[in-house]
Amino acid sequence: MTCTNSEMKAALQALFLGELKPEGHARLREHAKTCAECREGYERLSRVESALEKRVLPKGREALLEAQLMERVRASQQAAAPERRSFWDWWKVALPAAAVAAVALLVVLPRGRGTGPAEGEWQARKGSTDSAFGVRAFCVSSEGKVRGEALPGGKLECPEGAAVQFSYTAPQSARLSVAAKSSSGEVLQFFPREGAPAPVTPGVDVPLSYSTPVQGGWLSAPMEVRARFTDDKGQVLGETQVTLTPAK
């Protein structure tokens, strides 16, 4: 079998000569995943560079990966940052909103002073922004492939027949509970399977020890799953939420 992709052949050579751009390197790596011939060339060139430099990760490849890494970091920061609007865009939104808020203040403030919701009630509805505690959710197909993932505060679509897997990040030991309330009011406990919150060790992106199959119709409507980290005294250390929705 001979690969006829001349762009990739040229990319292999450019990689060795130190002339390949990070985008070209990303394309080459993607191609080499499925092309045995180019993969062989990639591996052999790497072996030569490693032997020359006495490194597992030759300097040139380290630099190419760094550029790709920084691009991913930039992209995720841009995705997380609110969209910038022009002054007039803001003004168009802000003016009516300010008017409504002013009226609401006049009507609500005299009665509502001192009776607002506790801070915890608000936090439970959002992914916390200043805590390092959090959970991510993954939808894993029956073939074992990850079909989607949701960060804290995000949304995950998962179809019947797949499974939902959670992973957590905790900077210190804590007790964790992951649970949701179905549309019928039933409490669905994902972790632990039953009983009080279970202890978890500190770690980053630690997968919980089991996944939950999506079957029997429990995920027939959007569902807000809340993960709560507490200390031994029951004090909340962090709280996040992920929304699960059914997918076709």
Partner: protein, 219 residues
Amino acid sequence: MAWEWDQERLRRFREGAPEVLGEVYRAHAEPLARALRSVAFRGRGFAHLQGALEVENTVLETFARAFEPRTRLAYDGVRPYAQFLMGIARNVVLEQSRSREVVAGLGPQDEGSTVDWELGAAAGRGESLEQQLEDQEVEALLVNFKQGLSPEERELFELRFTEGLAQESAAERVGLTRIQVRRREKGLKQRLLDFLQARGYLQNIQAQGWGFLKGRGEA
């Protein structure tokens, strides 16, 4: 790996300052790659990490997760960052391993507890015989290639590729300008590529350089 964190660096790291992220990456990428390669030969189910492509993908994925805002906040600046990083790499590798097992129809096997995941704990241990033989083949080819170089070329080759000197420093040592060093260096690499193809080590890599085309009889 001696990597010093001070309050300012930690603050800027947590903010996601690109220059600090770059420093952290450059200080830890090679040790992480070395540790991953070492794991490949010690754990059943991690053999895929013997390949450069998989090691690179794992290094990239590990740092991408390590540099997510929440993960940056989770690092306390006290314990060694290499250790923190290895915890993430372990999860990345176990996920890869599990998905391979499912695809291959094998039962799940959690080797996280049986393999030593300490960074650099056993670097260089337990390479396969096949790998050792191929390394010897490459080493012999390189020795052979260097023997065919002039003394000046050999000096430049050693300074740039073996000692890893910067172009400026190498230029000073051999009495050339940096531009001249760059040109000669490219010529040397092109000749090495040509040499490796002629000896049958590399095949089917399209060449653009004249020397290479002539060597293949395609020009």
